[in-house]
């Protein structure tokens, strides 16, 4: 017979088993995701950005995004979004210190940064979406959104460590908004509108492998020397003459949560630009590895079900027509647990009335 004590022991050992598998889950981890060979992405070089914000309306036009009303202390503005939102897929933000006179300088300086989807190698939004509305293209690695599949649960909004997917709260027919690297224009021989319109090549579109080579080239230059930058897309004919930047050592997106296909270079530390400091392991990897361990071939849940069903079956109450014979009520040995098994229900009632 299953007594209360045994039940608790069972629960405790079950809990121990979960704890053990939880701790050991890294051993069972699924294969780490890597950048697809033909992955496409962006390189944003903050030292080249002049803060003209041409990318913002270009993005809106290319993606049919509505203008946005912005309230500021000194008045209201149209289409001057301060952050990405359900209506805005990319913005340029600025860091400023003191007089803000020197570009890419921490003290008394200023610097620009771009906010948009990072197109993660192992995206949280794809991992958490219950209905496959968020998918990662196996060839280009672009993280895509399907409005037709989406149920609007906003798990992607909550899970993304970059705060990228946004939701439209002001309509009865809402959707998720996020940059999809202008994938709808790729077939027309065009590419990301923000890169296409960028006058200095600060936002550059291209295959991730080429973008990484370009980063190496820029880092090898002596800061301040003249160099030729590709403009728009890498491998195109358009170029821009500029001075080599003085970069901080880290390339943002190279290691963050397992890497991203959008890479950032900067002249000031990324924490000043509000870029979150993130671990190198993708939360999606931890979450999925743990789930795959607990629910591995459904052995644990089915085993648990079997044990419980057997216990419940053995202690099943007899069908109503058999209740006249008390001995028929259960398996022998029921009285081995006197405190619980032989308790007269009378006592319970009287106890309550004391």
């Amino acid at each position: 017979m299953l007594t209360r004590r045994k039940l608790i022991q069972g629960l405790a050992s079950g809990a121990g088993a979960i704890a053990a598998t939880s701790v050991a889950s890294t051993a069972e981890a699924r294969a780490r995701h890597t950048v697809p060979d033909k992955a496409l992405g962006l390189l944003y070089d903050g030292t080249l950005c002049i803060g003209c914000r041409a990318c913002i309306p270009a993005c809106k036009a290319a993606n049919d995004m509505p203008a946005e009303h912005t309230e500021l202390a000194n008045g209201d503005y149209w289409d001057a979004p301060l952050d990405i939102s359900g209506k805005t897929l990319t913005v340029i933000k600025a860091y400023r210190d003191g007089g803000g006179t020197h570009k890419d300088q921490v003290k008394d300086g200023f610097a620009f940064t771009k906010v948009s989807c990072m197109h993660c190698v192992d995206p949280s939004c794809v991992s958490v979406c219950p209905v496959s509305a968020m998918t990662k293209d196996p060839t280009t690695g672009i993280v895509k959104y399907s409005i037709d599949a989406c149920i609007g649960c906003r798990y992607c909004v909550a899970a993304c460590p970059f705060g990228v997917p946004r939701f439209t709260y002001d309509t009865p027919f809402p959707k998720i908004s996020k940059c999809q690297l202008c994938q709808h224009r790729l077939g027309e021989g065009r590419y990301a509108a923000c890169a296409e319109v960028c006058p200095t090549g600060a936002t550059l579109f291209g295959p991730v492998s080429d973008l990484k080579k370009e980063i190496e080239r820029r880092r090898a230059l002596t800061p301040g020397t003249k160099t030729t930058y590709p403009r728009g897309r890498i491998g195109g004919n358009d170029t821009y003459e500029g001075a080599a930047g003085a970069y901080v050592a880290h390339t943002y997106g190279e290691t963050e949560i397992g890497g991203t296909q959008v890479l950032h270079l900067s002249g000031v530390p990324f924490e000043l630009l509000d870029k979150p400091a993130l671990p190198t392991v993708a939360p999606a990897d931890i979450s999925e590895s743990l789930q795959h361990t607990i629910y591995n071939k459904l052995i644990a849940p089915i085993g648990f079900l079997g044990v419980l069903a057997a216990a419940a079956w053995r202690h099943m109450r007899p069908p109503p027509e058999a209740v006249a014979v008390p001995e028929a009520a259960g398996a022998p040995g029921d009285s081995t647990d006197p405190p619980s098994g032989t308790e007269p229900p009378e006592r319970a009632r009287e106890g309550g009335q004391r």
Partner: protein, 396 residues
């Protein structure tokens, strides 16, 4: 051992009585308010009635109505299983009320999800393999909520069949009931632990005091405590409201189990903090550390209240159950909202509209409970003739 069918075995019976009282009228009003807010939400969007934003895309509805509501509702599975396996019959008086509240908890959770999700007309995608994404913990949770609601309905079905005199079907159902009883516990456990797993994908956005791979275990154990506490609170409340005798010895036993479960939770929680080196974080002057201590004190309280010779006093049992339920509720609010760091500049506190929906759902649950116990055999028939059984004299 109890001889079933004798006087000691209390058969549930409808308690009768008036359906329209001042109390039920107030509940009806609250449900009406809920309907108004939902109508505005359907016409003007989620933002018109909530304070939800892109920093806090989940708020009161998800955390209370779903995460907490179904955790309290898990009492149904626990009591149903305990009845079959532990004492066979001795817990019987509590099974049906527990099943009813659990069923309502799950139905309300599902209803709340429909109000909360933006594109509810696509909700069926969850059940279609073409769309279903099995790495998503959300999918697990959603499927479990639906399955659990169905199982609770089946577990409650005998009361309905009895009411309409369908004894043949009832007997056949009783023969396979053990399967549903077991499946309910398994699915309930998967669902409740998944509410913890849900947060693992949030990664560093959840404070280190709360972010751990033990989240599923911590959510599961605290759920069992909450479910048991809910049974005790419910038994105490209906004994007071309906002037019925309190099943004290049974409640003592349930709370003993609850106490042990809470001990497992506390050991796992503290050991996890120590092993991950997150203990220094709980002595820093932060909101997260503050809520951690309040919640931990509430987890310790039942152990302190129930220990010692006076641990079986009804007042102590009730207080311990309240502490245990509150502890679990706070743990969920803290993990989902207080420990959720989403970047500077984002704030969230539930709006009046959100509160109206949650209060309205709770009112609907209580209202449905009152109607059900008056019309269906849910509560046990009292041992002695009692004025409370006279129709009209009970004011629920």
């Amino acid at each position: 051992m109890i001889a079933p069918g004798t006087a000691a075995h209390e058969e549930p019976a409808p308690i009768g009585g008036r359906l329209v009282t001042r109390f039920t009228a107030v509940l009806g009003l609250l449900v009406g308010l809920l309907a108004v807010v939902v109508a505005i939400r359907l016409v003007r969007g989620i933002g018109a009635v909530t304070n939800l934003n892109d920093g806090y895309p989940w708020g009161l509805w998800i955390v209370y109505d779903d995460v907490i509501g179904t955790a309290l509702g898990s009492s149904g599975f626990i009591v149903a299983f305990a009845t079959y396996v532990l004492n066979r019959g001795a817990y019987h008086p509590m099974v049906r009320p527990a099943l009813v509240t659990a069923l309502f908890g799950y139905v309300m959770a599902s209803a709340s999800v429909f109000v909360d999700i933006g594109r509810y007309w696509n909700a069926w995608h969850i059940f279609v393999p073409h769309y279903a994404q099995f790495n998503s913990v959300m999918l697990t949770v959603a499927l479990c909520i639906v399955a659990c609601t169905g199982i609770l309905a089946i577990e409650f079905l005998p009361a309905v069949l009895e009411r309409f005199g369908m004894h043949g079907i009832r007997r056949r159902l009783d023969r396979v009931m053990f399967l549903f009883i077991a499946a309910g516990v398994v699915l309930g456990a998967i669902q409740q632990s998944s509410f913890g797993s849900l947060l693992i994908a949030f990664g560093p956005q959840i404070d280190p005091v709360y972010q751990t791979r033990l989240l599923p275990l911590l959510f599961l154990t605290s759920t069992v405590g909450m479910g048991l506490a809910a049974v005790v609170i419910e038994a105490g409340a209906s004994s007071l409201a309906l002037r019925r005798p309190l099943e004290r010895d049974l409640l003592v036993k349930l709370m003993k189990i609850g106490q042990m479960i809470v001990q497992i939770f506390l050991v796992a929680r503290l050991a996890d903090l120590a092993i991950r080196g997150a203990l220094p974080k709980v002595i820093e002057p932060t909101p997260v550390a503050a809520v951690f201590w309040i919640e931990t004190a509430l987890f310790v309280a039942p152990i302190a209240l129930l220990g010692g010779p006076r641990g079986d006093r009804p007042a102590r049992l009730f207080l311990a159950a309240m502490a245990m339920a509150l502890a679990g509720m706070l743990y969920r609010i803290d993990a989902y909202l207080v420990a959720y760091h989403t970047g500077a500049g984002w704030h969230y506190f539930p709006s009046l509209g959100e509160i109206a929906v949650t209060v309205g759902l709770i009112a609907a649950e209580i209202l449905a409970f009152i109607v059900l116990i008056r019309l269906f055999p849910v509560l046990p028939r009292p041992h002695r003739p009692d004025p409370a059984t006279n129709p009209g004299s009970a004011r629920a």
